[in-house]
């Protein structure tokens, strides 16, 4: 029987549907399995259910914003790598994200190649740590 390589799971939490879907498509084309959440509460729930390898999180969302989402994720999961992806994020908010152990901050708009490279770097680092 053929052994299929395990596709690493990436959870995308972003309220902007078009962007969320574009990021998910980009991730799928790059060989990852993308899971999408349209808001913070759904993102927290999916993190618990799916146990993703990396979370891509928008900071500016209605309802539960990115910082509150990250705080709730960190209450149960101190390990998962989190990429903050946002446009015009305030520096105070970014500083808060650093305090909550975000792994990376990348501002929108970004180059697809750089984003995919960044996700790959995070996954590589996880493998190196767990080796």
């Amino acid at each position: 029987m053929e052994n299929k390589p395990v596709r690493r799971k990436i959870l995308v939490i972003d309220d902007e549907r078009d962007l969320r879907e574009a990021i998910a498509e980009l991730l799928e084309k790059s060989g990852y399995r993308a899971i999408c959440a349209a808001g913070g509460a759904e993102g927290v729930r999916l993190n618990e259910q799916e146990n993703p390898d990396v979370i891509v999180l928008d900071l500016r969302m209605p309802g539960m914003d990115g910082i509150e989402t990250l705080r709730r994720i960190r209450e149960r999961d101190s390990e998962v790598s989190v990429v903050i992806l946002t446009a015009n994020g305030s520096f105070d908010t970014i500083r808060e994200a650093v305090g909550l152990s975000a792994s990376e901050y990348l501002s929108k708009p970004f180059e697809n190649r750089e984003f995919i490279g960044l996700v790959g770097d995070l996954l590589w680092r996880q493998m190196a740590v767990n080796r």
Partner: protein
Amino acid sequence: MTTEMCRLIYVPILHVREDVDELGAMSGSSEAKEKEPQAMEEQRAAVGKMWSGIAARLAELGLPWERTRIYQDGLPVCWTELKIVAQLAEYGSRNHQLLLDLREKGAKLEGTEEMELLMKEYALLNAIFMKTPGAEQAAPIPEYQAKSAELLKARDEFIFNRINSTLQEGEVPLVFMGVMHRLDKLLEKDYLISHIIYRLPFGSVGAIYNA
């Protein structure tokens, strides 16, 4: 009559080994580099992208370089500022290489920090490295965070006063400052601050420098 607030460009940055080595903060860096070539390479690549992004965003701003004064985290007021920057650039610091590029375009480089406070900071870092080898790759050490908080506050106050006392009329201040500084909070009452943020690879760099 209303007074227009002066515009200030604030660039939050992450520090890496190359940015501080020559000032005496670390010891045994080459040994550490040999031990972790892959990690160091990855860190350099991530930080390189951060600096390329910052350089591109600054270029887009179209600042009047002849009227731009640069303030740099960790650069002491000492009359040999340019020599320090050149040396760190030669060491491979992308941060300091960019400062030299901007200076070539006409920007002025200003000594920014009080030497005594920086020496205290380095002494604190060294004490922790002596006790905990490889600490720069670990999570921020609570002991360092607690002791450095007061120092960081004093440094920010000095830098704030330094900017106000050296900036000439009509000049644009360009500030490169570590992410955990709160200098922007002091500056925001006097200046209209534009933050230039592209990519901050928190997870790739040694956390202790940025604690």
